[in-house]
């Protein structure tokens, strides 16, 4: 069977929506610069790329019109390179990776860019025209439920206290801040050239956050709940990309292989507790690889909310010290469509950097889904 590898990972800085440095940058420009950066960094021959598969959760406005193709044109890729936009909400760009891997195994190409983008500054969450089906809204209220409410539901069902959530959030911030201070994001970030200047560092991280400051925050979604802005991932602008190719191609062209894709999984769950999505999808992927949660040496679990992260971690049985070594989305930010490729790329890089045998990247998805990718050290 053809082996598929991750042979490069790049992302833009992640900055706060509307307030951050990328707020005035168009998402197509942003993603094009990241794609360009990935190509330069990996040394892949652009003409060999079969397709750009671009994940985006709200593909409209400046990230509409099949933005994947437009990004290829903006990035001056050869006209022969295809472009396709995919949407699985927060799991969009992890889906890009899965599709690329599937295509390679199918013999439908050797090299793919699996990427994602989201400007939460410029395109509202829910899009410009949320036209909900009134029948479905009645039948399945969770289908359109706000993410905050689902986080509260998970907190209640799994009895995750506010205190536990805040402890988790503080740790995420500290890990991200020390990784940033140690320059550990330098090699993954592609500087973005905006009108206002060059943007080359993350803008969401709050390293000085303490449990006391978080305890003082107002509840964000439910006055009888436990979730605050401090225990939620912030609205974020960003783009990310990984190079997915056959192992044979990587070897032949001397590309640096970060990790091998071992297995993948996707699964639906109750929409009202969408945050628990990583559990079923990770189990599927782990089963397919014949592995257990405790076998993982590196875990990239998207921190949409602290409540769902904690609930998912304990259900799957990840070892705490393996989870989000350089911090997670509560600190770094969560530009919906861009997160999947970031955590796959990050898990692959960490496996290469930290050693160990297996890694997993997994995340929850609005509407009630989860997605997971298991990686293996080469």
């Amino acid at each position: 069977m053809v082996n598929v590898v991750i042979a490069g990972y790049a992302r833009s800085p992640f900055t706060l929506a509307r307030k951050g440095a990328l707020a005035r940058v168009r998402p197509d420009d942003l993603a094009a610069e990241v794609v360009r950066g990935l190509i330069e960094k990996t040394g892949v021959k652009p003409e060999d790329i079969e397709d750009i598969i671009m994940g985006c959760a709200f593909p409209e406005g400046e990230q509409g019109m099949n933005v994947a193709r437009l990004i290829g044109l903006l990035a001056d890729l050869p006209l022969s390179v295809g472009g396709c936009t995919v949407n699985r909400f927060c799991g969009s760009s992890m889906q890009s990776v899965h599709m690329a891997a599937g295509q390679i195994r199918l013999g439908a190409g050797d090299v793919f860019i699996a990427a994602g983008v989201e400007s939460m500054s410029r395109i509202p969450m829910g899009g410009y025209n949320p036209l909900f089906n009134p029948v479905l809204a009645k039948k399945s209220p969770g289908a359109y439920m706000g993410m905050g409410e689902t986080a509260e539901n998970v907190a209640r069902r799994w009895q995750i206290t506010r205190d536990a959530q805040e402890e988790f959030a503080v740790k995420s911030q500290k890990k991200a801040a020390s990784a940033q201070a140690a320059g550990k994001f330098k090699d993954e970030i592609v500087p973005i050239h905006a009108k206002a200047g060059v943007i080359d560092s993350d803008g969401c991280i709050r390293g000085d956050t303490t449990k006391e400051t978080l305890a003082g925050l107002k509840l964000a979604f439910d006055q009888e709940g436990t979730v605050t802005a401090g225990t939620s991932s912030p609205l974020t602008d960003g783009a990310s990309a990984v190079l997915v190719c056959s192992e044979e191609y990587a070897d032949k062209h001397g590309l640096k292989k970060l990790a091998r894709i071992k297995s993948v999984g996707v699964a639906g769950v109750e929409p009202e507790i969408m945050g628990i999505g990583p559990v079923r999808s990770s189990r599927k992927a782990l089963d397919r690889a014949g592995l257990k949660g405790t076998d993982m040496d590196v875990v990239e679990l998207n921190e949409a909310f602290a409540s769902q992260s904690l609930a998912s971690m304990s259900e799957i049985g990840f070892r705490e010290e393996t989870v989000n070594i350089d911090g997670g989305a509560i600190a770094l930010g969560h530009p919906l469509g861009a997160t999947g490729a970031r955590i796959v790329g990050k898990a692959a890089s960490l496996l290469a950097r930290e050693g160990g045998k297996y890694a997993i990247a997994t995340q929850c998805i609005g509407g009630g889904q989860g997605i997971a990718t298991v990686l293996e050290r080469i």
């Binding site: 406005g61 829910g126 410009y128 025209n129 949320p130 036209l131 909900f132 089906n133 009134p134 809204a137 359109y144 706000g146 905050g148 409410e149 509840l219 964000a220 979604f221 439910d222 006055q223 709940g225």
Partner: protein, 775 residues
């Protein structure tokens, strides 16, 4: 003339300087704001920039819009003073120290363009003193422009020129302050404190020192000094807290220093131990932890407290209970004659203040009109001192002064057995120092309904509205009901008016000179009808209102609405159905019906939808427009300026803003006349709305707020009905929705809401307390 000032430099970024800069920016002009270098730090413009940042957070807001703040460019005196050459008017608002001001003037003289107006905002230093040792070229371009705090909201500007001042240049500045900054320019002589503060400080000092001597509480003193005289209910002690107690000793000392020994101010300017004590314990007024009044938050509750003048300690506020005051009502003479403390206090404070005011003619101003205007606009008195004396009766007043051996000013002698103001041949006149009456002259181009009303009879009139001929074929529709609330009488007269204009006139202006354009429909009537289950009548009320609004919109002549102050609910719907709006800059408009559990029922939903759905700046598709309208109406959002109303699309591109309240009617009339030639009524709009799918999203938004505790139980019901209307009911996105359909939806939802007990409770609560019920 005003056009010749295109850029202004304000030097000094304190509260007044930044406030003046903000008002120039509000007028749409660029401002260069300079202050000194900061003590430390790399940013050399930090002082001015800090002032703008603070102004953006100040409430009441100095800026009318966030956009206005971008017109201010900050700099510092060391690096940027030469840039005053770019400016046509330089306003100096630095420390009240002669040496500091003059040092700056000498620097300015080197870098400014000759002929550029320079003015000082000094409140205490005479013009002649400021000019001491300055070259003639400087004196020619120099004047005092004294603004009041806060500059955006206080409409008075005192102008002082010297013998050397170029009068043409002063006229340019005066015109600019009038038309662009919206100020009423009162020309003052170069005498200490000019007019308003000279008199205001006299009044306040007298009031503060008399209170303990007569043995009143501060609540009693404020009650006597407030409503009966048409003085804002803050009275004197509340006003001192507002202005800042720390300023009192400073202002009094400088006033005492500047006034001649013979001035009566010295007799009332006594030591104020209570003020001293308060300042020593850190009570500076409302800007700090309190002054004469404070809010005590200890113990988790907010308790309003006041100082006991006998002990100097705070105690819970005690509402005044003075039978003599009640008995006098609004009869000032009766109040002056009241027995005991009440009469003594009223007379000793206000009687003497009025006598002092009379002596300011001609010392501080040529005419009584300047003094009355200064007190009305500088201290928000409803009546000027001479208007008050007219109420008391000149002869009674003079007799009492004589009886008490108080000097009688020459103007009072001239007024013997007369009044200071009269109406002659339909014109208001005032008494001059020459003993003759003179026509009250408005500044060029000002048209006041008040004057038109003196000169003639209304064209049409009933108990709630009147119609006036304002000349050139334009009629003015005036609301006259209590608080300008809208009722069926107004609708009935509007119907007649539309017919009349069609027949004989060219255009209609909707305007009045109340403090608020209209705070909306008379909901008391709706409540009454609901209580007796007269649903058919309620529906008829809504239908008539809708019908009249449509008639106004599609009338074959131009209709211009000219609001000032609040234009809420139905008042706002009048704006929305006019061809154009000419708004006073201080217009506060919004559709607030949801606050009392209803929704806009006279086409407000329909008009806002039409505007937002067809706005080219909005994203395409059926949701963005209705979502935006839903946000505004469901939260009862009210714009905090005409500029805000424009952001809300209550004002549109062609609509105008008038900065000076006095010029509003003239501007509205001119706008209406401009629309006459080739006038074509608007075409009815047909729009696409999202239908039931859109309602789901709106309902979900309200549910989210309810979970957070921001929206109440009944908000969900009200929001639900609003969502029905704004999503277009059962429409489909491939259909267009006609105006008539939205009107039906408005009517149906309005009636459904009126039938809910929670809405009735909201209305009742609002009528009783003036505050919204959050049920």
């Amino acid at each position: 003339m005003a056009g010749s000032i295109k850029k202004v430099c304000v030097i000094g970024a304190g509260v007044m300087g930044s406030g003046i800069a903000a008002q120039v920016a509000n007028a749409g002009l660029p401002v260069l704001l300079l202050d000194i270098l900061p003590k430390d730090g790399a940013n050399r413009n930090a002082v001015a920039e800090g002032a703008v940042a603070r102004a953006l957070k100040t409430d009441p807001a100095p800026f009318m819009s966030a956009g206005a703040a971008k017109l201010i460019e900050c700099g510092n005196i060391d690096d940027d003073l030469a840039r005053v050459a770019e400016c046509d008017w330089i306003v100096e608002v630095v420390l009240e120290r002669l040496d500091v001001k003059q040092a700056l003037y000498h620097k300015l003289e080197v870098v400014r363009r000759p002929g550029t107006a320079i003015s000082s905002n000094t409140s205490t230093i005479p013009l002649q003193t400021l000019l001491g040792g300055m070259p003639e070229s400087f004196a020619r371009d120099f004047m005092i422009t004294h603004f009041f705090n806060p500059p955006r909201y206080m409409r008075l500007m005192e102008l002082v020129t010297g013998p050397a001042t170029d009068q043409a240049l002063a006229a340019v500045v005066a015109q600019f302050c009038d038309r662009a900054l919206g100020k009423s320019v009162v020309v003052c002589h170069d005498s200490p404190g000019f007019i308003a503060n000279r008199l205001g400080v006299f009044w306040m000092t007298g009031a503060v020192t008399e209170t303990p001597e007569i043995g009143l509480t501060i609540e009693e003193a404020d009650a006597i000094m407030g409503a009966p005289f048409g003085v804002p209910k803050t009275g004197v002690f509340g006003l001192s807290d507002l202005v800042g107690l720390d300023l009192m000793p400073h202002v009094n000392a400088s006033m005492a220093g500047a006034l001649p020994k013979t001035d009566e101010f010295h007799t009332i300017n006594r030591d104020m131990p209570v003020v001293r004590r308060l300042l020593e314990t850190g009570y500076t007024g409302r800007k700090g932890k309190g002054g004469f009044y404070r809010i005590n938050k200890s113990g988790g509750k907010r308790v309003k407290e006041s100082v006991d003048l006998k002990t100097g300690e705070f105690r819970p506020e005690r509402k005044a209970n003075l039978p003599e005051l009640e008995a006098a009502g609004r009869d000032i003479r009766k109040l002056f004659e009241a027995p005991g403390k009440v009469g003594a206090y009223a007379w000793n404070v206000m009687g003497r203040t009025l006598a002092y005011a009379a002596r300011l003619v001609p010392e501080a101003a040529d005419e009584i009109t300047a003094i009355d205007e200064a007190m009305r606009l500088g201290y928000n008195w409803k009546f000027g001192p001479f208007e008050l004396i007219d109420k008391v009766g000149v002869d009674w007043f003079v007799a009492r002064l004589r009886a008490e051996n108080i000097a009688v000013a020459p103007i009072l002698e001239k007024a013997a057995s007369k009044t200071f103001y009269r109406v002659e041949n339909g014109k208001k006149q005032f008494l001059g120092l020459d003993g003759a009456y003179h026509d009250l002259k408005r500044p060029d181009g000002v048209l006041m309904l008040e004057d038109i009303k003196l000169a003639g009879k209304p064209v049409l009139k009933n108990s709630s509205a009147a119609v006036w001929d304002v000349g050139d074929g334009v009629l003015c529709f005036e609301f006259t009901s209590k608080s300008n609330s809208l009722d069926e009488q107004i609708m009935a007269l509007l119907q007649k008016t539309i017919a009349l204009v069609k027949e004989k006139y060219k255009a209609l202006v909707i305007y009045n000179e109340g403090s608020n354009f209209s705070v909306g429909a008379n909901v008391g009537l709706a409540l009454f009808a609901a209580n007796i289950a007269a649903w058919a009548q309620v529906e008829a009320m809504i239908a008539t209102g809708q019908d009249m609004m449509q008639k106004l919109k599609y009338a074959p002549f131009p209709v211009v609405a000219a609001p000032a102050g609040m234009a809420l609910g139905g008042g706002c719907e009048f704006l929305l159905h006019s061809d154009a709006v000419q708004a006073y800059a201080e217009t506060y408009a919004g559709l607030v019906e949801c606050g009392i559990g209803l929704l806009p029922g006279w086409g407000g939903c329909k008009e806002m939808l039409g505007r937002w759905v067809t706005d080219p700046k909005m994203p395409r598709g059926p949701m963005p427009g209705p979502t935006k309208v839903f946000e505004m109406i469901s939260t009862a959002k009210v714009g905090r300026s005409a500029a805000d109303a424009r952001e809300m699309l209550i004002l549109r591109g062609g609509d105008g803003v008038t900065m000076n309240r006095y010029r509003l009617l003239a501007d509205a009339k001119a706008k209406a006349l401009k629309l006459v030639d080739g006038y074509k009524p608007q075409e009815p709009r047909e729009i696409v709305l999202p239908g039931p799918s859109g309602k789901v999203a709106m309902d979900q938004a309200v549910a989210g707020f309810a979970k957070l505790g921001v929206a109440t139980k009944h908000d969900i019901v009200v929001g639900g009905e609003l969502a029905v209307v704004l999503s277009g009911g059962g429409t489909d996105i491939i259909d267009v929705v006609k105006e008539s359909k939205i009107l039906v939806l408005e009517r149906e939802s309005f009636l459904r809401l009126l039938r809910t007990p929670a809405t009735l409770a909201r209305i009742e609560h609002m009528l009783e307390t003036g505050k919204p019920l959050r049920n």
